[in-house]
């Protein structure tokens, strides 16, 4: 079960930008708070925010390959259902991802499996389902991982990615750097 969902509002001079956790939509409202983020976060979230803000502190990625998995067909069906639910509604997808099947050693392995086997030609649009799939199937995520959902301001473009074991979990993700976190999902 993914226990903690935390919004990370972004304050500009006159606006507050935040992620709505039921619909999965980015909302903006007028705000007169300063640009400094005043919210208090857990030490785990603070640690990951720090890593995300200083990408040169992340561990250098190793090349990774995925081996044959037991119950591969079952994992694929799980991934497809999860993907379809996310395409309907963010909350439904999140709810389904609480069923975890921890078959991969790490989120990186899970991400590679997802990229290779689940709609491989549509991966640019599946970052959210991919991240939640990895979180639900990685043995390491619970202790060492965190999902970020971010926005590329001032556009409305959004993205989701995982940092696990001090490293970006997706070796093929070259755009995450542009997105500022507006929400995080992790275990305490």
């Amino acid at each position: 079960m993914l226990s903690k969902f935390r919004t990370i509002p972004i304050y500009t001079i006159d606006e507050e930008c935040f992620f709505e956790k039921i619909t999965g939509v980015l909302l903006k409202q007028a705000s007169n708070r300063s640009t400094e983020n005043i919210a208090v976060y857990s030490s785990k979230l603070n640690h990951f925010l720090e890593l995300n803000s200083h990408p040169y502190n992340l561990a250098i990625r190793k090349t990774f390959t995925i081996g044959k998995k037991r119950f591969e067909s079952f994992i694929k069906i799980y991934a497809i259902i999860l993907t379809r639910l996310f395409s309907i509604n963010f909350y439904l997808g999140r709810l389904f991802s609480k069923i975890s099947i921890r078959v991969f050693q790490s989120s990186e392995e899970a991400v590679l499996f997802y990229r290779n086997y689940i709609y491989p030609n549509k991966q640019n649009d599946l970052c959210l389902a991919r991240a939640f799939f990895a979180a639900a199937t990685s043995k390491s995520f619970k202790e060492n991982g965190l999902i970020f959902i971010g926005v590329f301001l001032p556009s409305k473009s959004m993205h989701a990615w995982i940092i696990e074991d001090r490293a970006m979990a997706d070796p093929q993700d070259s755009i995450w750097l542009n997105y500022q976190p507006v929400a995080a999902i992790h275990y305490e």
Partner: protein, 386 residues
């Protein structure tokens, strides 16, 4: 015509070809004054922009029967078409000493002049900085910077490299966003896409003046040298060094301020060397080969990570701020040309779109049409279009 403007534009390195007669013009101000601008085709300009600079030899005429002949291009009189000669590298044994020697020969060309480098915080300009530092050649740095989240790695590298320079000026990008200060773009003879970046280039040129920089080296062309797939056969080399840089900022922004804008990676000796080293290699968009090869002269962060910020956010913000000016330019363009693409109805349709949506196709049309309207505005300022 305003004499001050004539002085600036007479320095242009671009020539023009009459596609019907094959006649070359050093400049076309006389034709513009005779009114050829009235029949200029904004649709062709937009379509040329979509084709991109790598297909300049396939561009349609924007001004009827007139094509710009950019430096390095040639006109084939028998086929009556534009040609873009490809670079053919010389095959020779190459090692790091040859690369260093090639860089040294290049820098020596500017002996006695104050050399500046554009400090972007990315790999390509960092390689130039690394080479200058290694060769103990003094240099100055000029760069744009921003506090935007996505540029955090570029900022980090900029601050790592600054101490290597004699002096550095970092300019706040937020004050010179793309599409800003459009009314002050100098008059030019042919519509040019880079007119939309006038503001930041002008700020950089002014910073060069402040530092006394006479030659500003850019990392343009690094994407070609370090990322493109390369064949074994040098005759099939895909590089077009003449498109590595654009003459618009060099001629109209930097040259009038006494600054020569030079793309370092268009140096033939250096290109020869890199071709020989990367010959037969696959496409390498993250430039891992270059990161490893230049490891000893680069910050380790650039060797081990391939981070690269997207400039998209800057363009979105620039467009948001520039909309009133763009509307004004379009209104003027409509008055001058009566072209329906600048009519109030079309403008409403074009600028009424959700500009926070990340559809690059939408931006390409807005940018090209704006660049065309900037050109008309320049002609009006030069009292050519009345």
């Amino acid at each position: 015509m305003n004499n001050q403007h004539i002085h600036i534009i007479s320095e242009l390195s671009v020539q023009f070809i009459n596609t019907s007669s094959g006649k070359t013009y050093k400049d076309i101000w006389h034709l513009l004054k005779a009114g050829v601008w009235k029949n200029a085709d904004v649709g062709n300009f937009e379509s040329n922009n979509l084709k991109g600079v790598l297909k300049r030899d396939d561009w349609e005429t924007v001004i009827p029967n007139i094509l710009p002949l950019y430096p390095g291009m040639r006109w084939n009189n028998s086929l009556m078409q534009m040609e873009e000669p490809r670079f053919t590298p010389k095959i020779k044994e190459t090692n790091s000493l040859h690369i260093i020697a090639a860089a040294n020969r290049f820098f020596k060309k500017y002996d006695g002049k104050r050399i500046g480098v554009q400090l972007s915080g990315g790999l390509d300009s960092s390689i130039i900085i690394g080479l200058l530092h290694y060769l103990k050649i003094p240099f100055w740095l000029v760069g744009m910077t921003t506090q935007r989240y996505e540029f955090r790695t570029e900022r980090y590298i900029q601050h790592l490299l600054m101490p290597l320079a004699q002096e550095t000026i970092l300019i706040d990008y937020e004050a010179y966003l793309p599409l800003s200060d459009l009314m002050n773009v100098p008059p030019h003879q042919h519509p040019e896409m880079l007119a939309i970046n006038y503001s930041s280039e002008n700020a950089m040129a002014e910073a060069c003046q402040k530092l006394g920089v006479e030659v500003l080296l850019t990392g343009d062309g690094g994407d070609n040298l370090f990322a493109e797939a390369l064949p074994n056969n040098p005759n099939e080399c895909p590089w077009l060094p003449q498109v590595f840089s654009d003459p618009f900022p060099a001629d109209l922004i930097y040259a009038p301020k006494g600054v020569q804008l030079v793309p370092f990676f268009a140096d033939t000796d250096f290109m020869d060397g890199i071709f020989n080293l990367r010959r037969g290699m696959k496409e390498d968009n993250s430039k891992w080969w270059a990161r490893q090869y230049f490891e000893s002269i680069l910050p380790q962060e650039l060797v081990n990570y391939d981070y690269c910020a997207d400039f998209w956010g800057l363009y979105v913000s620039g467009l948001q701020k520039a909309i009133p000016t763009i509307k004004e330019l379009f209104e003027q363009a409509y008055q001058l040309t009566k072209n329906e693409l600048f009519s109030p109805k079309e403008v409403l349709k074009l600028l009424g779109q959700d500009i926070l949506d990340t559809k690059k196709e939408m931006y390409q049309v807005i940018e090209a049409r704006t660049a065309f309207a900037i050109w008309l505005n320049g002609l009006k300022k030069a009292e050519v279009a009345i």
